[in-house]
Amino acid sequence: MLNPDLVGRTFAGATSTTITAESIAAFALALGEPETHLAPPTFAITISLEQSQSVLVESGLDWSRVVHGDQRFSIYKQLVAGMQIQCDSTIESARVMAGNEIITVRSDLIESGETAVSSWSTLVFRA
């Protein structure tokens, strides 16, 4: 069970990630996207989910029980190669349904002090 005191808390990413042209191109090609120099709309997940995972695992949740429930992105700025991204994750909500723990984490990908993309992942930890 997640400690309810953690709901609302923001965990700042310990390190920043530099987006590479290769990582964007590989992701775009995997999705059949012809614009291989622009991060596709779901590219932020490659940064946000790892941060969410480390926050929730450190909070005592079992990542092997996780199922992705839903996902939302708000894209304020196009991600491109060379951007240095700091990712902060906030546990927005946690509830229990039929023994499953349903946790929504918002991850903000911050570039030069401004949020470029916010990514909300609702993760279901199966009982």
Binding site: A30, E33, P40, G69, D70, Q71, F73, W120
Partner: protein, 133 residues
Amino acid sequence: MSIFKVGELLPSKTYIVNRASLVTYANASGDQNPIHQDEAFAKSVGLENVIAHGMYTMGLVGQYVSSMAGSSSKVREFSARFTKPVVVPAGVNVELVVSATVVELTDEVARLEITATCNQVKVLGMAKAVILL
């Protein structure tokens, strides 16, 4: 003037999902969970077979949205619920069929409601996007 009309059903696109494409997505995304690649493992945890990453399905739908918008740089909001897994048996090309309806237009943006199906079954719920015009 927008090229879209409210209520317009946009042309559908079909994406092929197979075991090889799951490996490509796993490598590109870093998500190497064996339920997306290893049939024996997937079955050992109670799945019918290997399933696609939810984010791969959503990523392909994102490609659809980008193509309708004219560029991935025009996508401002994108959301979906993972309602049914996309099951990917060995040696099968699974067809993911994506379409969308324009539900709202402003001077700047169009709101789309998206349908994504495999074998006539909806695999995403509440799939929506906002694109710049």
